[in-house]
Amino acid sequence: MNQADITKLVSKLRIKVPPTHRRLRNPLGPEGRLNKLRKTVTGLIKYERIELNYNRADEARQYAERLISEAISHGDCHKPTMEIADFWLLEKELVHKLFKVLVPRFENSSSAFTKMYKAPKPAYARAIEKTILELKGNPYPSLTTRQPNNKLLLQNVLLDAAKYDYRQTKYAEIAEKMSTPEETKNPDS
């Protein structure tokens, strides 16, 4: 059992973090892995919605979340945070976007900063799982269809009826309970 690192303080991520990292096979080793992810994180911050392979998306998502949460908690006057932003964002104007646009956008949010969807696979082809990774609050139209008015669907109609019955029996029970103690009380008094 190892001791936790106490020199650093980090905020908790709102996404599920696997216990170990993915290797993302690369001839340059861990350095090459980070270089790969840097490109993806830069793209995500720049375009706000990207489509890519699942493994890389899931890994890049964690780094993007951490980058934004660091930016939120330390601000742009903190030198180490600035260095980190400088490393992760290959296009330097995105550093401004991170601190000026994304930090105000996510400062008061209580959920994750990014969202990941499964992308449709091509039919009749052996394809790698594709995903769509996006920042929340992006200007593009939503990817999911809005919930239609489903009140008149059969299951809902039946459930409404069941609910009515259930409530009625419940009220009846409560009324019975209310009335019985009074009856028992009356003979006492």
């Binding site: 690192d5 106490i6 650093k8 303080l9 991520l13 350095e31 964690q62 601000g75 006057c77 992760w88």
Partner: protein, 304 residues
């Protein structure tokens, strides 16, 4: 100040010895002036959220073993809770003081090999590791020109007493390089007297830089970016410098998820400290009262 702590009149002689030793102390034994570098670190820069200023979070430096192992494979909230409760129970029986790597400690244990006797060891703490009830620390000293290290478990019930002789920090997290340093840097007298810091002062950082013995070394110290070693470059060859450059991993400090997987997030920490803060604080206060009482009562018993 140390005179007040005396328990028996015989030790007045020891006190005199201490005062003399104070004048001709070893280089490493010199306590440095309290540095205010920490205070600068703690100052909240602009834009920081107020939750960073939660004072209970500072307890992580004093009681690091209360934080669980960050590996999610080993985590379980109930087990951690039970473990913390057991740790507090043990702490209520024995005073486990605040200490850091670099602090000089005296540990007294009941000796199972010599019945009815205790065994005291004085040394500098060179490592603190493990979490929960498994927490360990290692003491090092040079006795009779022989370097000796002893590893102790923090919550071992055979420990009778842990006394801080000099509370200070060093520049590095682990002081394993003392094994390869000249022996005077980790030589401490066995009958060393406790030095008491003034109330409320920050823990001083000892900025002494040790001198290493010539090679061969136990580890490749040149690759570890140590701050507490002064003469590392003297013993290096060109080959070693090249290898050091090759082995450097400058990208590692930007690996945000690696940091994240090694730490306990703030939200979890505030929960943990909120649970144990009150009890720890109470224990501290009662211990302080006890020690004050002792200082007043001890001389009376001597007279009587």
């Amino acid at each position: 100040m140390s005179l007040v702590m005396r328990k028996s009149p015989i030790e007045y002689f020891n006190a005199a010895k201490w005062i003399i030793r104070r004048e001709c102390r070893y280089l490493s034994n010199l306590p440095e002036v309290a540095e205010n570098s920490e205070v600068v670190e703690d100052k909240p820069p602009k834009g920081r959220k107020p939750r960073f200023l939660n004072p209970t979070l500072q307890y992580r430096h004093v009681y690091p073993e209360f934080l669980p192992d960050p590996n999610p494979k080993f985590r379980n909230s109930l087990r951690e809770k039970l473990e913390r409760a057991d740790m507090l129970k043990r702490r209520s029986q024995v005073d486990i003081p605040e200490f850091y790597v670099g602090t000089i400690l005296a540990v007294t244990i009941a000796d199972p090999h010599a019945q009815g006797k205790t065994n005291k060891f004085v040394g500098i703490c060179i490592e603190r590791k493990g979490c929960g009830l498994r927490a360990e620390f290692t003491l090092r000293n040079v006795i009779d020109h022989q370097g000796i290290e002893v590893r102790y478990e923090l919550y071992d019930p055979t420990i009778q007493n842990i006394q801080v002789l000099r509370l200070e920090k060093r520049l590095d997290d682990k002081l394993f390089y003392l094994r390869d340093a000249l022996p005077e840097y980790c030589t401490f007298p066995i009958d060393m007297d406790p030095e008491i810091l003034p109330e409320g002062s920050p823990v001083p950082v000892n900025t002494v830089q040790v001198k290493l013995k010539p090679r061969p070394w136990l580890e490749r110290w040149e690759r570890q970016e140590l701050k507490g070693v002064s003469n590392i470059e003297e013993h290096l060859k060109e080959k070693d410098r090249v290898r050091r450059e090759l082995r450097k991993t400058p990208w590692e400090k930007f690996d945000l998820m690696k940091d994240y997987r090694k730490t306990i997030p703030i939200e979890d920490q505030t929960e943990i400290w909120g649970e144990v803060y009150n009890q720890l604080q109470q224990m501290r206060v009662s211990r302080k009262k006890m020690s004050k009482q002792r200082t007043f009562t001890a001389p009376k018993t001597q007279l009587g």
